[in-house]
Amino acid sequence: MGRVTKLFRAAPAYPLLLPGMLWLAVFFFVPMYYLLDMSTRTGNLIQGFAQTYHFANYTDAITSNQAQLTRSLLYAGSATLLAFLIAYPLAYVIAFRGGRFKNLLLMLVIAPFFTNYLIRTLAWETILADHGIVTHTLKSLHVLSVTDALGFTSGQRLLATPLAVVAGITYNYLPFMTLPLYVSLEKIDKRLLEAALDLYANRARAFLRITMPLSLPGIFAGTLLTFIPAIGDYINAYLLGSTQTTMIGNVIQNKFLTFNDYPSAAALSFTLMAGILVFIIIYARILGTEELA
């Protein structure tokens, strides 16, 4: 009885949900279904793919692409960490010290997005060129010798090395990290900080006990918004990387477009999605942010 009343009361909400649900159904669930269905088929484009429940597509996809999967995880993880280290102070300064320049500064964070993603990445080709000023400077400071030794770069150059790929990803997704951080920092009640200082907390302690915990929702959202697209990214690896830096996105793209091997591509895509999902669950548990969802 009670449950029925509850449903009844919620009734006006259903029509409001309709557009969103339709959108999800058409552009998410239907393609997902086809992708899932495709992932266990066998055959080829010309003769057609027959449903044979060939689950080995998954194990094959994973075993033959371990290097790229590991690399994707590593690059996306490093880029997310780097983006966080750059974005947090940036968002902090804009939120707390921005004053009347806040909007202008935020504009500047988003400004690169006025340009096409591809063009921005191509610009990095020029910035990191072998005979460019960046490479030249780092070379004369012997930084490249260190990164070469660490395996981040090779042959005293930046382009076509892991470092270039990670730098490209970091740059491209930086705003996705900055904006959620800014939002959560901006809405912190400054009086809490004043109270902390009144209670003889020093600034570091006030930051660790108040600012940091209150900005956790922003950290959570920012890292996910950066990490998830970064792990599937293949533009940076294609333009700034080499044959030794290919990521799982490159493999999926190649399988879909060049090989027309839809089943393995679909299986790989699903593996990636499942991996990301597991990661999010663990991450949410660690951060303990149930109220964020």
Binding site: N44, A129, H131, I235, T243, F259
Partner: protein, 418 residues
């Protein structure tokens, strides 16, 4: 989009001619996986003239064809971006055609790469339906695939006297269409070696020169499997127009050595252009069409046809099965194979012209089509290669689906995307 409205991209057409080739766009669009809608950006200009019903019907042999030998008021042609003459936001060659035949050519620049164009229409073609195009322009191996799959209507040669007369003999009997039944070449290009003579300090003459340890990390190969395998096979003494999976394995093993020791920096599409120009690359496998654009601005760059031979690729016009206006398509192909029309297109496009006599027209110009003389283009060996070059040019064979899978897998192992 009508061509009498300036499209934003047309403004850049001349600029683009120098800085951007159609292959440039296609690689990059390919890299974006379609995310970059170059097609919509560049979807320029259908024909603009008023399409009245036409009954133009030249005297021609009426064969056993099932379509009427009359010009339809409009027809559709899919081509690559930036791949035809442009002047004042219009395509003069198409305008002449439309006027002569009183038709309206809907010129669609919607081919960004062979694979995705195929992916877009494969299901419709397989179902035996009209894809809404009367003529499509696809690269050799993809064209061969369409022929193999029965997606192409045979040509009616009685309607193509100019093609018969002016097609360069080296295009006859290519392995993808041995009896010239389906394909008419639109433009071609050579795949050879480009290098920075300042950095090499010597002339390169063969693919083996790419493996010189002095150039370590400064060499790139092409992302096109057929071009890269083709050149390496020639270097190993294998004929790419008649090769086997075992041959591909040999080419793979040869290249693998240099991937593993970091001799090869990367596999690029047109991206190599920038890298060659700014010295990131010392030598690379390159396409002649890009070099036409690069050489004048970079005097130290050189293009060489390796002594063991080079690859020739061609984009071919062909009529998809169940096309609604095949007669118009025939008329256009025949129209294009007049040397003065081919010269108009060539003066703008700068790839290799398959039409005999076009270079002579360019030497003198032709007032009847409003074309000034352009001896620079007429004498450019990259646009009108001498016979000695064409004799060394090889066309990659048409692979069976099974072979294609194996070749692709071997190649993907090299590019790190297996």
């Amino acid at each position: 989009m009508s061509s009498d409205q300036p499209s934003p991209f047309d403004l850049n057409a001349n600029l683009a001619r120098g800085a951007l080739t159609r292959r440039d766009l296609l690689r990059r669009a390919g890299a974006a996986g379609g995310a970059l809608s170059a097609a919509s950006l560049l979807a320029a200009c259908g024909g603009g003239s008023v399409g009245g019903a036409s009954t133009h019907n030249p005297a021609s042999a009426v064969g056993k064809v099932s379509y009427p030998h009359t010009v339809a008021p409009s027809w559709n042609w899919s081509n690559w971006t930036l791949y035809i003459d442009v002047k004042n936001h219009r395509h003069p060659s198409i305008d002449l055609f439309d006027k002569k035949y009183n038709t309206n050519t809907n010129y669609i620049e919607d081919i960004n790469d062979n694979e995705s164009f195929f992916g877009k229409f494969q299901a419709t073609l397989q179902a035996g339906q009209d894809i809404g195009r009367d003529l499509v322009t696809l690269t050799d191996w993809m064209a061969g695939k369409w022929v193999q799959l029965g997606y192409v209507d045979p040509l009616e040669w009685d309607l193509l006297p100019n093609v018969k007369q002016n097609l360069l003999p080296s295009y006859n009997g290519r392995s993808i269409d041995p009896n010239n039944e389906y394909l008419v070449p639109w433009q071609s290009g050579l795949t050879g070696i480009g290098y920075n003579s300042e950095l090499t300090g010597r002339d390169l003459t063969t693919v083996s020169d790419l493996w010189d340890p002095k150039f370590k990390g400064k060499v790139s190969l092409l992302t096109e499997m057929r071009d890269t395998f083709g050149l390496v096979m020639l270097n190993l003494g294998i004929d790419p127009s008649n090769c086997t999976v075992a041959d591909a394995q040999k080419a793979h093993d040869e290249i693998k050595k240099y991937v593993d020791n970091n001799q090869i920096r990367a596999f690029y599409g047109n991206d190599y252009s920038n890298h060659l120009a700014n010295g990131d690359l010392t030598a690379a496998m390159v396409w002649s069409g890009d070099m036409v654009q690069l050489l004048p601005d970079n005097p130290h760059l050189k293009f060489v046809v390796p002594k063991e031979g080079c690859m020739l690729w061609t984009d071919n016009m062909m009529i998809p099965k169940h096309a609604a206006h095949p007669y118009n398509a025939h008329m256009w192909m025949n129209f294009y194979y007049q040397p003065q029309i081919a010269a108009m297109v060539e003066d703008w496009v700068n790839y290799i012209c398959p039409v005999q006599g076009a270079s002579d027209v360019l030497k003198t110009g032709d007032p009847s089509v409003n074309l000034p003389a352009d001896p620079g283009v007429a004498k450019n060996p990259l646009i009108f290669p001498p016979k000695s070059t064409m004799d060394k040019a090889h066309v990659f064979k048409s692979l069976s689906p099974d072979e294609e899978t194996k070749f692709n897998q071997l190649f993907a192992d090299l590019t790190g995307t297996a």
